[in-house]
């Protein structure tokens, strides 16, 4: 098993990444930044997975990471498509503006 320090460091960085992504996701009003923060969180999770795969030696983890990266790309494509639509209508990517559906 790798020594004590490296295990903690990678997990610490991964959790930091996820934390940052979540904060950006919740605070920032600009839709594109929100998309970026989702990607950030996904990469954080990838880091965790790779570290776990390395530790346990089984390949499942890395396989999952590869899938995650590809699907994240698809996700971003869809996300940007939706944002583009909204931008064409409201000429702004501020999520506060979109509150037609409420009550």
């Amino acid at each position: 098993m790798s020594n004590f320090s490296s295990v903690y460091w990678t997990q610490f960085i991964a959790i930091a990444l996820i934390g940052l992504g979540m904060v950006g996701f919740l605070i920032r009003r600009n839709a594109i930044v929100v998309l970026m923060s989702i990607e950030l969180m996904l990469n954080g999770v990838n880091l965790l997975l790779i570290e776990a795969a390395h530790r346990s030696g089984s390949a499942d983890g890395t396989m999952l990471v590869v899938f995650i990266i590809t699907i994240a790309a698809g996700e971003v494509a869809v996300g940007l498509g939706i944002l583009l639509n909204l931008y064409r209508i409201k000429h702004s990517s501020d999520t506060e503006l979109y509150k037609e559906l409420q009550g």
């Binding site: 979540m22 919740l26 979109y98 509150k99 037609e100 009550g103």
Partner: protein, 623 residues
Amino acid sequence: MMMPLLLAAPLIGAIVNGLILRPATAKRAGVIASIAALTSFASVMVQHFAPDAGPFEWTWFTVGELTVKWSFASDPLTWMMCAVVTGIGSLIHIYSIGYMSHEHNAYRYFAYLNFFLFNMLVLITSTSLLGMFVGWEGVGLCSYLLIGYWFEDINKAKAGMKAFIVNRIGDAGFLIGIFICYQLFKTLNFAEIAKLLDTQTFDVRMLNLAAFFLFIGAMGKSAQIPLYVWLPDAMAGPTPVSALIHAATMVTAGIYLICRMNGLFLVAQDTSLFIAIIGISTALLSALIATSQRDIKKVLAYSTVSQLGLMFLALGCGAYLAAIFHVMTHAFFKALLFLGSGSVIHACEGEQDIWKMGGLKKKLPSTFLTFTIGTIAIAGIPPLAGFFSKDMILYSALTAKSYGTTFWILGLLVSFLTAFYMVRVWALTFLGEYRGDKHPHESPATMLIPLYILAFGSIVAGFLGMPEGLHLLPNYLEAFLHPVLGPLVEGHGALSEERAMAVATVSAIIACSLGFYFYSKPERSETPGKILVPFKTVFENKFWVDELYGLVIVKPFDALCAFFAKFFDPNIIDGLVLLPSKAAQGMGSLLVLLQTGIVQTYLLFFVFGLLVLFMVLLKGVVL
């Protein structure tokens, strides 16, 4: 075989008249009704000579160990009451043919009259308390229908309703009496109750309670102190109705009930005392009111109430025979007086105020003759019927166990007043000049024949129950009713029977002459009013009893019901019930506010939920 015919005849008469034939003219309807009444009278007579074997009965309903039957049988007391009811009933039917001749659909009147006769017979002939109760309410219903016969006038309909409601209050008491009797004796049959009372001993308090509630029923039906207010208003009905129902038959039902249950009332001493007190006070009160009434029928109505008071006095003192004897004689002369006043009213085209009559002696000779006989009989002048029966009551009051003499003195005062106001009415209607603007004429024959028969009855009826003391005639009535009512109680009072009779006769004669003196001459007729001015207004306004009832009971009750109906039910109860739905709507609108539409706030709730989740999950482990 006679019993089913006795009951069926009036019922069939009612159905034929009321539902099937509905004859156009009063004459045809009247004839059918009278035939029905006469057949039942004939069957009563036949019944006497060829009595049926057992009771005519079939089961009504059985519940657990309680089986209730419709059963009708006849014993001397029932026979006598049936004879009085059907006899006088048929006479009144014949009389009404004439009286109702100008009514357009009179079949309704005759159908109700027959139906009343049927119910009265059911009341008298049934052998169980519950059977009697059926007749009891049926009779109340018929009196409601008959009083409100001319329903176009709303006051008459209201009078009918008042009669029924007040009777219903009495019936409620009667019902409780039935329940207590059932609880005590486990049966409702009169014969069995009488046997049980002789053999076993029961808790006296319960017996008194049962007697008390049965008396409340009697009070309602026979118009005693608290529940008498309906009888004067019942005069709104046609006069033959007042004659039949409110003089001869229905009002005596209460007395019949107590006589039928005499075993119970003998044992329940303090209730009997209570009955005597109520009886004498009703008699006194109504006699005083009768002295200053303007309407001829109102006078007779109050006189009936006071005579009934006397009968209850007799019952209270245990003299059941005296009460029944007075019922019989009273039926004759009171029916006669009512029918007489009916023919007077008929003659004066509906005028009922005695101050607008007078001098009818010349115009209505036969009515005058029969009315005079009736007045003398009710005043208690020997040898007519009223004297003997009233005297028997007074003597029995004298010899009663407690307060004998006070009852006797008050009874004497009542008979004095009775004589006084009867002569007043007699004089004001028949003597002097005619004060009204109508032109009265003598009534047709169909109305006069019953008057003559009743007049003859009023004379002869007295001889049936002559007291032994006079040893002129044996006391047939006492012999006849002995098995049912038990021995005549031989008490000893302050005076012997003969001397009491003499005092009563003297007071009656004084009262008549006083009445005659004042009211025969028009100028002198005002003086008694002036002498007792303060009392006159009190008597005239019937001691304001109706207004008192209205104020104390009717108005607050209406107000309470209105409060419930208009405010309490729709607002309070409905409000309370609709509260949860309003609360739900309110909460709903609060929750909806959370959906602001902004994605960020949604995500905040999402993360907040996540934190709550972690807190709960990790509570045991980490936190």
